[in-house]
């Protein structure tokens, strides 16, 4: 499939998503199930990544700030870095790796084993049942994972600050919230919806349109992760440009 052909198909796929999204009947139970699998089941991975991110960021930043005698700026610097940029991007990449590959492989194997065709024959709308629920779940679950991940990262930063110094929990979070602004939180939060949407949509698209039998399953899983991660960076770049224009 050529690049432009794929772009056309992806655009049609996206339009179909919005068409099917608002059309009854709503697959609420499947959406809840997918939210559990996509959101809740990804939480341990995001939590561990977040804790390590906070620890590493703080430990690595300390020597540079110590050179200027500005170690007291650690909570402010780490919190702004994590909340504005690192948290959303890194958790989205982790999410693309775990969920994107899962959705891509699952849908591709459903396609290969003709389960999607069987659904169509039985009168179900496979797109609505499989794609809409998953894309909606990724879109809504990633922001929640990012919020929890950011909170755990900041806790990791608090632990790291106390490894070589002594800052109380209250003072640490006072400094964190002192340095954060709505212009840091809201753009970062809003862009995670787009990250989640892109990851879900691309993974579903790749799985739903997979070809070449079982070989295609691996390809779909692989390209879902690669394109999902790439889309995260592209959306991030656009979001940063828009944010810097607005603020």
């Amino acid at each position: 499939m050529g690049f432009f052909e794929e772009v056309t198909l992806l655009t049609k796929f996206t339009f179909r998503f919005f068409r099917e999204l608002f059309k009854p009947r709503y697959e609420f139970n499947e959406f809840v199930r997918q939210s559990y699998l996509i959101g809740y089941k990804s939480f341990p991975l995001v939590a561990i990544t977040g804790l390590i991110l906070g620890l590493v960021m703080t430990i690595q930043s300390r020597p540079t700030l110590a050179e200027f005698g500005a170690v007291s700026w650690l909570p402010a610097m780490v919190s702004v870095s994590i909340v504005r940029e690192l948290g959303p991007t890194i958790f989205a990449l982790i999410f693309a790796g775990k969920v994107g590959s899962g959705i891509g492989a699952e849908l591709a194997s459903m396609k290969v084993t003709e389960q999607i065709d069987a659904m169509e024959v039985s009168g179900m709308n496979p797109y609505k049942y499989i794609v809409v629920t998953r894309v909606l779940a990724t879109t809504l679950m990633l922001p929640l994972l990012v919020i929890l991940g950011d909170a755990i990262s900041l806790y990791g930063a608090y632990i790291a600050v106390n490894l070589k110094g002594s800052v109380s929990f209250h003072l640490f979070f006072l400094q964190v919230f002192k340095s954060l602004d709505f212009s840091d939180v809201f753009p970062a939060f809003i862009k995670t919806f787009f990250f989640g949407f892109a990851i879900g949509l691309i993974s579903c698209f790749k799985g739903y349109n997979s070809t070449n039998g079982t070989e295609g399953v691996g390809v779909a899983a692989n390209t879902s992760v690669v394109l999902g991660s790439l889309s995260v960076f592209i959306i991030d770049m656009i979001a940063v440009q828009i944010t810097s224009m607005l603020y």
């Binding site: 959101g39 929640l144 919020i147 954060l180």
Partner: protein, 231 residues
């Protein structure tokens, strides 16, 4: 069925905790910006705000009591800064307070410090315009430093020329310090003065023995003795 209910509960907890954390974060950020507390507004007119921005802190006696709400250019040389201040501080904030723009540490953000005036005045009211102290402008200091350094360069240039002339033995001081004949002349002059003074003493002694001055000198001696007796 039980497993499905358990999953739904876990998902519910996951969503609730995330949403609560988000709301708590928003609340704490909002609280810092005085969004959830009773406030009143005061303003100050400055000539130059030196990079102060909306959202910067306002401090009273070193405590963060509010934020900069709005900055508006009134004329070509005056800027009005509106401040949102926490209601709890009103009883300490009198009408004669003064605002000055400073900075939070060496690398920190700009802040407005409110300095209390002499006691006895009324409490401040909403929308009051308070007196301001113009901050020291770094550019102005640099301009003064530049003028001083130019003057210093001119002075050191002149001093160098003077020192060069002295070193070459030009002028009175140059000759005095560098010319050896001058030193010899001065030495000779000193010898001559010494000799002259010796001759003058001899002349005065001789004059004391002469009959013209003898009477006068004796009278003077007697007067001095009487004065000493009186004492």
């Amino acid at each position: 069925m039980e497993k499905k209910t358990g999953n739904k509960t876990r998902l519910g907890i996951f969503v609730t905790v995330s949403v609560v954390l988000f709301i708590a974060g928003i609340y704490f950020i909002g609280q810092r910006q005085q969004m959830f507390s009773n406030t009143y507004q005061i303003s100050g007119i400055f000539k130059d705000i030196g990079g102060l921005q909306i959202g910067n802190n306002v401090r009273f006696a070193g405590i963060n009591v509010g934020i900069v709400e709005n900055i508006e250019q009134v004329t070509d040389s005056t800027v009005r800064v509106d401040m949102e201040i926490d209601e709890h501080t009103r009883k300490f904030m009198k009408k004669n307070v003064k605002a000055i723009i400073g900075s939070d540490g060496l690398m920190g953000n700009k802040i407005i410090s409110i300095i209390p005036g002499p006691p006895g005045k009324q409490e401040i009211s909403n929308n009051d315009i308070i007196e301001t102290i113009q901050p020291v402008n770094i550019d102005e200091i640099m301009a003064n430093v530049k003028t001083t350094s130019n003057n210093l360069a001119s002075i050191t240039g002149d001093l160098s020329a003077v020192m060069k002339s002295i070193h070459e033995g030009k002028g009175t001081i140059g000759k005095l310090l560098m010319d050896s004949t001058m030193a010899q002349n001065v030495g000779q002059a000193m010898v001559n003065i010494k000799q002259g003074a010796g001759g003058f003493k001899q002349n005065m002694d001789a004059a004391g023995h002469s009959f013209l001055l003898k009477g006068f000198l004796k009278k003077k001696e007697k007067k001095d003795e009487k004065k000493e007796e009186k004492k």
